[in-house]
Symmetry: C2
Subunit: 213 residues, 2 copies
DNA sequence: CGCTTAATGTACGAACTAGTGAGTTAACGC
DNA sequence: GCGTTAACTCACTAGTTCGTACATTAAGCG
């Protein structure tokens, strides 16, 4: 056989092995935290061996950083799809907030990785050339929306886009990141599907009432 | 000497030894997380030995649960001091929010412990008889304020106290818990003293605008 | 003042954990 | 075909980490 074609199962595949490790590692780190995750455990769930983790990534820490990079880039790629330029400012804000709301709910592992990284004071993000200062497409969209609302005299003129982004993130992140202690203390599951629409609408109301006051 | 008096330095003191261990352990667990914390490290920073940790607490996990219990009870004791019955509903809401805002900022270790516990899916809180279902005095106060505001026709009548509490917590917790990744990605320190008043006021505005819309 | 026991210190071990040394085999260009 | 090298396997180790067996000493009581 001359060259491996797409329908041929290659026994050795650099990309597939790497992707396999990264995928398993993402789940393991998100599940157990950086310190709690075990390299041997990751290796076992992989279709390859522990030696390959060191071959491709160098060590536990570099593997964890690679996991963070992949997770952030994937989320940012999703955010870049945001298209709200055709909407009225109020509707655009709601749409943007709901996009974040939905994204967070759809990617609990990412939220867990962020929480874990904050426990470690973002030292790994700081060490990553890819992530340090990675721009946020959603923030650019938000800036434009606020500008349009302000120009139309419908939004107050003393709001910083990053502050609004912070409010949206607070709400959406808290709902996922703190759901366990919240449920244990107050007996309410913030992820209960029956309350989903209520929270989604509430976030929009909160933002619009503030911006138009 | 017959009995140990208060001015006598007792060489053996059950309470002091226990409190010492608990204090050191709180800092260690908040700093490194449950898995990251080392029993030997805690012992070393104590004025006693590792053997005593096992003598008084039984093991790493029970020590961690004891740390959580003490931290939660201390915070709840502070919250119980809330006195807003003499204030107008709007001012009472702001006061309550600012109290939470200040408390969170003053107790970063507590916020870290909560984040860590959420990573572990609150399994230790669930195992603690003291903490499971521990009532929140601040929530009772909030319920009364909302009721008064609603009766006076100044607050909307479709708000759940726990939802308002969630919004307050989201904002205050996010500011502390996610400050590192937020700073790494956006270059803004949410704990910058120069922005403190801005955030404090913003939270109040956010709540009042929503409740009075 | 000696007896009892709660409180404390010392030394150690079994299991785990990140990482590696050295050899092996499949893929691919020539 | 064949040599080179990238991809891969296996067995192993040095250091760590929770936990404990055992010895010891201070405190209080009759």
């Amino acid at each position: 056989m001359a060259a491996p074609s797409s329908d041929t199962e290659r026994q050795r595949d650099k990309d597939r092995t790497r992707a396999d490790i990264l995928d398993v590692a993402t789940r393991e780190f998100a599940d157990k935290g950086y310190t709690g995750a075990r390299v041997d455990e990751i290796a076992e769930r992989t279709s390859t061996t522990k030696r390959m983790i060191y071959y491709y990534f160098g060590g536990k820490e570099q593997l964890y950083i690679a996991v963070l990079e992949q997770a952030y880039l994937a989320i940012r790629a999703l955010e870049a799809e945001l298209d709200v330029e055709h909407l009225e400012p109020e509707d655009a804000i709601r749409r943007l907030a709901e996009l974040t709301f939905d994204h967070h709910e759809a990617h609990p592992d990412f939220i867990r990785l962020v929480s874990i990284e904050n426990i470690h004071r973002a030292e790994h993000i700081a060490r990553s050339e890819v992530l340090a200062g990675l721009a946020n497409p959603a923030l650019d969209g938000l800036t434009q929306i606020l500008e349009r609302g302000r120009a139309a005299g419908r939004f107050r003129d003393d709001v910083d886009p990053l502050d609004v982004h912070m409010v949206i993130s607070s709400f959406c992140v808290f709902r996922l990141a703190n759901r366990h202690t919240f449920a244990a203390i107050f007996g309410r599951d913030m992820l209960d599907p029956g309350r989903r629409e209520h929270y989604r609408r509430m976030l929009g109301d909160l933002l619009i009432d503030y911006l138009t006051s």
